[in-house]
């Protein structure tokens, strides 16, 4: 098992390196960068020397391959460079905003699981019943409604019910857990419910598959109650593919975060990313994208390892 984990960890390196190459060079296909815009933005007359000085301070005067290798070298030391817009280290920019986004993402994933697993299971067990139709409508609507609008409608609802508007200031969990949760539960619900719409369909089809298996027939033949069959036999096996989907679609949830943070006025990674794009701050953009790619790669790895832990049929060399 340990060698398997080591092997899988090594295998993530070429994937991440490939992603780095693609993103880095894609952003630089079109010539021109932010420095000129930043310094000349207000119509200020800036000499070429000042621009060149800023370029060399940020290391943008070097040839691209050299910039790339120094970026990768920096990444391994968790020093991925300076933001082209603010000039501050990217690590500082990202680490302040990370806890918030991670908290919302994890809460969203939890909410999604709590909705999707029972809903998917029930509609698989009672196919073509009202609950099954409800799920179908839920997943169609969930995919059609834009995340940002869903967030806005939720705010309208909260305003109407509790006279609540998203607070301007973010309260961290360790400062005041209750204020923190009451602030973040809503964006988490928004991303979670949309995510549930995707996951519930997968749970449904995996439960349907499992219910056709021989061991379910055996369990029935033994005279076990339907409750025991479903909970002990069916759910346990149906959860494996469900975990895969929850892991794979975690990226979907991160995408929802980009717009949801904007709606709820949360200064997280998503909002930082949008600002970085608006400023064409390539260094910040490439690092955030790498971060998202890394989250995807490592959630996949975690899902595979979880499989090994849960399913005794899977043996790893």
């Amino acid at each position: 098992m340990l060698t398997y984990i080591a092997k899988r960890l090594l295998m993530t390196i070429p994937t991440l390196l490939g992603a780095a190459v693609l993103i880095f060079f894609m952003l630089r296909v079109v010539p021109g960068d932010v420095i000129e815009v930043k310094l000349r933005g207000d119509g200020a007359s800036v000499t070429q020397e000042v621009i060149d000085a800023e370029r060399s301070r940020l290391g943008l005067d070097k040839p691209l391959p050299e910039q790339f290798t120094s970026w990768i070298a920096g990444l391994t030391k968790l020093d991925p460079g300076l933001s082209m817009w603010t000039g501050k280290p990217v690590v500082d920019e990202m680490s302040v905003r990370l806890p918030l986004s991670i908290q919302v993402a994890v809460m969203g994933a939890l909410i999604a699981t709590l909705i999707a697993v029972p809903m998917g299971t029930l509609s698989a067990l009672y196919r073509d019943s009202p609950i099954d139709y409800l799920l179908r409508i839920f997943s169609l609507v969930g995919l059609a409604v834009p995340a940002f609008w869903f967030g806005m409608v939720m705010i309208l609802l909260l305003l109407w019910l509790f006279n609540w508007l998203p607070p301007v200031i973010y309260t961290p969990f360790h400062v005041d857990p209750i204020a923190n949760l009451s602030q973040l539960i809503w964006p988490a619900l928004v991303v979670g419910i949309r995510y549930a719409a995707v996951v519930a369909r997968m749970v449904r089809s995996s439960v349907i598959e499992v219910m056709k298996e021989d061991y379910i027939r055996t369990a029935r033949a033994k005279g076990l109650t339907e409750k025991v069959i479903i909970i002990r036999h069916a759910m346990k096996n149906a959860m494996l593919p469900a975990i895969t989907v929850i892991g794979l679609e975690f990226a979907f949830l991160m995408g929802g975060l980009v717009v949801t943070e904007q709606v709820f006025n949360l200064n997280g990674i998503g909002q930082l990313f949008v600002q970085a794009v608006a400023h064409r701050d390539f260094v910040l953009v490439q690092n955030i994208v790498m971060f998202i790619a890394a989250v995807f790669v490592f959630t996949n790895l975690a899902v595979d390892l979880l499989y090994a832990a849960i399913d005794p049929r899977i043996r790893y060399r």
Partner: protein, 303 residues
Amino acid sequence: MTLGTMAASVRVPSRTKPTAWRKMMQFAATQPLGAAGLVTVLVMAIAGALAPYIAPYDPVAISFSDMLAPPSWEHPLGTDNFGRDILSRILYGARTAIVMGLVSALIGSTLGAILGVVSAYFGGVIDLLIQRAVDIFLSLPIIVLALVVVAMLGRNLVLGFDFNLILAISIPIVPQVARVVRSSALSIREMAYVDAARVAGYSTRRIIFRHMAPNLMAPYLIMLTAFIAQAILLEASLSFLGLGVTEPSPAWGLMLAGNAVDFYRQAPWMIIFPGLAISLAVFSFNLLGDSLRDWLDPKARLR
């Protein structure tokens, strides 16, 4: 087996080719939900096309005397903070949404399909390289990928439409389509008629476009319809973030952008109606796409 039973087991194709009309009627009969989706989509497209004739007001005309007016006979869906009529803006917005959605989905799906077929046909190193790149792009949420393209290209208005925005919406679609089309193309590549074409000495281009492509039309059409929905959603999201369609062009996402949030209390209609329009458009295209899949590819339903 006698000749008689063999003849009975072979289904005789009808002599007359079904007309487009009859095909559509058949689609409507077997896929009522898909037909409903199709009708909604058509109504939206027509409303968008006829917007200059049916919209009660100029979508960009600012009128401070009508600011933030609630829905009434005069302004069925109310007005915004500039006194612009929301119904008129939604009607004009349908143009933007459908044109952008259609064009981007068409570009994205076509590029993706070509990439998928090329990858499957050549195999080997080409396939490996394309698939690795596709894998990397698929690991990113489509909105993130679209934003990377926005950062890469900036803005470029051609004939009133931001061509770079169209690219930003189509590029995330390419890897998704490439993956699906490749897997269909892989099985088609093994078909006897492709071997026959190769033996006959046809050029690679001819084999790909004349022999393989027609057999990939069904998955292509299904993906195309589904991705129109995705493209509309993506355009709305980018416009909402202030990185898509720019003022004063009426676009649904744009109507919810910027300072719309300052009017939660005074003018909830500013928020509700544009969002409903986006949701309805995406929902209808999704419904159409799902039904098209069931209709064109009955095997997919059993999966």
